[in-house]
């Protein structure tokens, strides 16, 4: 009995700080925002609090909000897809082909963008992508006389900036999965006559699914809520649900609508994860 009580105390002492930390940093702000999203008006000015569903209704009655939500999801799929296409081969190469000091150097290059401010990265891209910018000049110096390359204020510019920002997540998560693959599995496959393509598709890819999934989630979730990359790189083409949410807070102090749109975004993310989870689980079991 006494040991039992003591153990309980020990658990409470050991886990308590972590739960307290989670409660203070995540649960409290989030529940405050959830509360505001069901209010008629925001926290400023003198008015009584009044329950209202109108900000959630707004999403379902206003077509342009749904269009923008869809646009953000599309943007998330494009960025995640490109990160897989570029990040997986890069991780494979790093994990299975490169050894020793070179690998450390390449890792440093991959992680380096993380050490710079995200805004600085985005502004650097505007310098690269504008007419007479770095990209334009480089291309012109190789093939003179080409029409000027101007990617400013365009959808491709947003995708380029976002892929550059989030690619390291995919490389790092895939690297961990790929490095853990037992070399003897591949040797066994080879000794049984499997070609490289078969080995890649039947053995390596399935075993790398956890890394691909983790990387995709780490990228997809922040990208669909992103706002300053689309705004700065997209200009008039850069309106997404993230910029609308940001403007509710910064332009009109409409916390309730901003909060409601954020929670709808969160619900959609959870829905996508809920749909994807069984598929992933199933996939891992059969292989």
């Amino acid at each position: 009995m006494r040991i039992e009580t003591r153990r309980r105390w020990a658990i409470a002492w050991l886990t308590g700080p972590a739960y307290l930390w989670l409660a203070v940093t995540i649960f409290l702000p989030l529940s405050a925002m959830l509360y505001f999203s069901f209010q008629k008006k925001g926290p400023f000015g003198k008015h009584a609090s009044e329950f209202s569903l109108k900000h959630y209704e707004a999403f379902f009655t206003k077509g342009y909000l749904q269009d923008l939500m869809w646009r953000s999801l599309e943007m998330g799929f494009h960025v995640t897809g490109l990160c897989i296409l570029i990040g997986f081969p890069a991780a494979y190469w790093l994990a299975r082909r490169i050894r020793g000091r070179w690998r450390e150097a390449l890792f440093l290059l991959i992680v380096l963008p993380f050490w710079s401010n995200a805004l600085v990265r985005v502004f650097s891209w505007t310098i690269v992508l504008r007419p007479d910018g770095v990209l334009d000049r480089a291309v012109q110096s190789v093939i003179p006389g080409l029409p000027a390359i101007d990617l400013t204020d365009s959808y491709p510019a947003i995708i380029i900036g976002l892929v550059h920002s989030y690619l390291p997540y995919m490389i790092l998560t895939c690297f961990l999965s790929l490095q853990a693959i037992d070399e003897s599995l591949l040797e066994a496959a080879r000794s049984l006559g499997a070609r490289s393509w078969t080995i890649l598709v039947r053995i390596i890819l399935p075993l790398a699914v956890p890394g691909l999934a983790a990387g995709s989630i780490l990228i997809f979730v922040p990208v669909i809520g992103s706002f300053f990359e689309p705004r700065l790189l997209g200009g008039p083409k850069g309106t997404v649900i993230g910029t609308v949410i940001e403007e509710q807070f910064t332009v009109v102090s409409n916390w309730p609508l901003g909060g409601a749109l954020s929670f709808i975004l969160l619900a959609i993310v959870l829905l996508i994860l809920a749909v994807a989870a069984p598929v992933l689980k199933n996939h891992m079991r059969t292989t």
């Binding site: 923008l68 400013t152 204020d153 309106t239 403007e247 910064t250 332009v251």
Partner: protein, 350 residues
């Protein structure tokens, strides 16, 4: 002019010497680079009064209100656009001003000085300082401006127009273009349609004066919505070929006032600072050396050189006959305007 400036400084110094005052800080809340923080002005004021001037800045009117709300007593002088003065007064963020303490008060243009936007229950809450327009700037080397706001929608300038990513400004412009009272537009669908029609015209959104100048210099656009004070600076300080159009349909006019923050620790110093800011002495040097918006002080405007942008463009009575001054907007109206603009932007992005 220099002599008159010296006389004014001497008068200011004399006025200060007449009253026993403890030197203290005057803490000013304003947009960065907007007149009050010109180094020579701060030095002249500090030399004349012994007060030290400390600046803090905001990047939006909402941020200004938030700073006043969350740090009561942290500021003495605050710049407030006349559309927000009554709201700030009602929230108790600023306090009434005794106009007798402002020696230049009598020289301010009556239409601006006595604007209803500065008064609540008969008390004065803002001293008219500067005014200006949001209208259309164009490249004088490439564009024949005509006299209509329709220049923004002219297919000749398709893909060559820039506007600011600002809901209120764009809804106002569309209201003017559709012949409505911009402060109380009734036909919102006409405004929606007018803004949608702008899609083929728009080259980019600009967000700061610096960006506007760089993009204009790089020939990114020929016609753009711009602020009159900024256009004056672009032409004068940067030598850009910028012309400024006040269309026959009217233009958006704004009026900025200087207010006394509630809980000010140094109200006397704050009023001295406001008085110096609205003086011809400060304005003439500000406009000649840096480029300024129009002064609410009529005497100051008349002291500008004949060819000054402010005297030429904003001094023309015919051009300024159709101005519409920005009135306070309710939260609901702001939300409606933002919704219209976001819906339009969603259409631009398609």
């Amino acid at each position: 002019m220099r002599i008159s400036g010296m006389i004014a400084s001497a008068l200011l110094a004399a006025a200060v010497a007449a009253q026993p005052l403890a030197a203290a800080e005057v803490r000013v809340l304003n947009w960065q680079g907007y007149g009050t923080d010109e180094a020579w002005g701060v030095e002249a004021f500090e030399a004349a009064t012994g007060h030290t001037v400390v600046h803090d800045y905001f990047n939006s009117e909402q941020e200004m209100l938030t700073k006043l709300r969350t740090s009561p007593g942290a500021y003495d002088v605050v710049l407030i656009n006349s559309a927000f003065t009554i709201q700030a007064a009602e929230e108790g963020l600023i306090q009434p001003i005794d106009s007798a303490a402002i020696s230049n008060f009598g020289d301010l243009s009556p239409g601006l000085r006595d604007a209803a936007e500065f008064r609540l229950d008969g008390d004065l809450y803002g001293v008219a300082w500067t005014w200006g327009l949001t209208s259309i700037a164009y490249d004088t080397e490439e564009v024949d401006p005509g006299n209509s706001i329709e220049i923004l929608w002219d297919p000749a300038h398709a893909g060559n127009v820039a506007v600011r990513d600002d809901s209120v400004e764009n809804v106002y412009l569309a209201a003017l273009a559709t012949g409505q009272n911009m402060n109380a537009p009734e036909d919102l669908d006409a405004i929606r349609q007018k803004l949608r029609d702008l899609k083929p015209q728009i080259r980019t959104f600009w967000s700061s004066e610096d960006e506007w100048n760089k993009e204009f210099a790089a020939d990114a656009f020929d016609v753009a919505v711009y602020w009159s004070g900024s256009a004056s600076r672009s032409a004068k300080a940067f030598g850009l070929p910028v012309g400024y159009l006040i269309p026959k349909e009217g233009a958006i006019a704004w009026l900025d006032g200087l207010s006394l923050a509630a809980g000010s620790a140094n109200p006397a110093g704050a009023l001295q600072f406001i008085d110096y800011m609205v003086s011809p002495d400060h304005f003439v040097r500000w406009d000649t050396e840096v480029g300024a918006p129009a002064s609410a002080n009529g005497v100051a405007m008349n002291q500008l050189p004949e060819d000054a942008f402010n005297r030429q463009v904003l001094g023309d009575p015919a051009a300024t006959a159709n101005l519409q001054f920005m009135a306070p907007l309710s939260d609901e109206t702001r939300e409606t305007f933002l919704e219209i603009w976001e819906e339009t932007k969603a259409w631009y992005a398609e």
